[in-house]
Amino acid sequence: MMQAPVDNAPAEDLIRVENLSKHFSISAGMFTKPLQLKALQDISFTVKRGETLGIVGESGCGKSTLGRCILQLLSPDQGRVMWLGQDIAGLPAEEMRKHRKDLQIIFQDPLASLNPRMTVGEIIADPLRSLMPELKAKERRDRVIRTMEAVGLLPEMINRYPHEFSGGQAQRIGIARALITEPKLIVCDEPVSALDVSIQAQILNLLADLKDKFGLTLVFISHNLSVVRHVSDRIMVLYLGRIVELASGDDLYDQPRHPYTRALLTAVPIPDPKLARQRSIDGLVGEIPSPINPPSGCTFRTRCRYALPICAQQRPPLEDTGTRMVACHRWQELELQAGA
């Protein structure tokens, strides 16, 4: 059976991201200078071995870009991504290949991320061909079958094609493909957003079981705060490409320090009619500004009810309070209440 990965790196931090920035150029026409979309700016955080770090935020906040930068599917423009003590940011593809088997990803749309012309067995074995070519055909097949069993797929399905599977089963195939190389870290990018409620719960439980069984570390990206809260040890809240708050799930929920975190928490629909009637929604006005031309100072100030003139002039630094990180000029004086 597969074993929990063991390695001898002394660090407790599996990944340390330092001052990472990622910009995209957007063409504005043939004769104009391209626009700069600042998808991520000055992001620093760590992922500890064995934890689940949740990343939440609304569309355009940079959460998927961050997941891809961690895995070097996108190259950051600035900053370092320290993986077990080595900076992997901008590593040439050949060099990066050595680390690929340790770093895997699960995507949102399970059917779209599976090649329709390959059988389930071929799809799941695919990473082995390029990342662990030393395995013999027999070993490869054994590993595929073990992994299929681990994710709740019947081994006799090995010769079927993706279109024969439902969304939930297709996501199990995607998970098996990520697990097959026995990775240390998996980035889960909205892994349950396309699934029905009852299937979503099955997949969330499966991820929890696999994490325990194989000693995985997870980075879990989602717009759904209830799901993130359910799976995560710590949660990072992103707004327009910057970290606004990062804390343990309980701390973040019991005492949000950033006004945006609180607004998100009160906006999350809760499946309890009495609680839903009691609570007051911290209604945010307006929508997220464009990341091409973000507001000056604190990017959240245009929607923040607590904004002062200073918020337009100076960007609040991301402060480390010892138990959390928060970027707000007024976090100490505001006594924000829990979400619900």
């Binding site: 009852s198 359910h230 799930g249 929920y253 809760i270 619900a340």
Partner: protein, 327 residues
Amino acid sequence: MPPVLTVSDLNVRFALHQAEVTAVSDLSFSLEPGETLAVVGESGSGKSQAFLSLMGLVAKNATVSGRAMLGDVDLLALGHSDLNRYRGKDIAMIFQDPMTSLNPSLRVKAQLAEVLVRHQGYTPEQAIRAAIEMLERVGIPEPVKRANAYPHELSGGMRQRVMIAMALLCKPKVLIADEPTTALDVTVQAQMLDLFKNLTTELGTALVLITHDLGVVAGIADRMMVMYGGRCVEKGPTDALFYDPRHPYTLGLLHSTPHVAKRARRLDPIQGLPPSLEHLPQGCAFHPRCAFRLERCFAERPPLLPVEEAHEKACWYQGELNYEEVA
């Protein structure tokens, strides 16, 4: 007050190449003026098809039977041109993706004004004035400027507000909203649900909210109807279904939904997959996934029967719904 809409024995069938598929079976319900009814179910439960059929919007290979009385008019007995007298005026529908529901080549004001010119006999000038008023009412800032915009110039939340404004222009008796907030960010979703609450109270419009999200239901619905395999399996007051669910599927949905305020170690998902409509199980369609199934569930379909006042379920099992007892 009499109900604004009474649907009885609604059936929607689709003729496929080899078979006939029943998407909605024997659905009956009524809607009181000004109330919000949530229709809950997973993909393939028939929740969208049921309401598309009331609007005459099902695909051509569909056969629809039953009655849908909007006042004293049976919507299902009307031809397309007769239906157009009521659609958009007395009964309106909005969809998940506002971009595909708006005409990309017409300014917002033209799309809105058309409704009033057609149904209320307004002059174009009157209609545009009324349209701008309605845009303001649904919370669109700078409504005059937005009225002159094309749909692609608006954000997703703004487009959905335009759709809501369009649907409410004629102050319909019934508004059907099919997953109206699913494509929106959570802070915008909260704004939109607030808007629905205020507008239904102000205008007395009855709202049918089709959704898979029990969180959304809890915040807004007076009553709910849970669908599975094309049938209603439980319906009743929202509080009753949340705090005292009587159908194992309703209970399963509640246990599958993560709660931001409670961090449980595990969810209790429903085993297995939702059925395909082409191969609906015999007896109760839910029995293959049900933790409480009895012998008769395999062969006999349970009827929808009252369990308490205004609370009905379709299930043979009469005991306590307690997972520990059957585990």
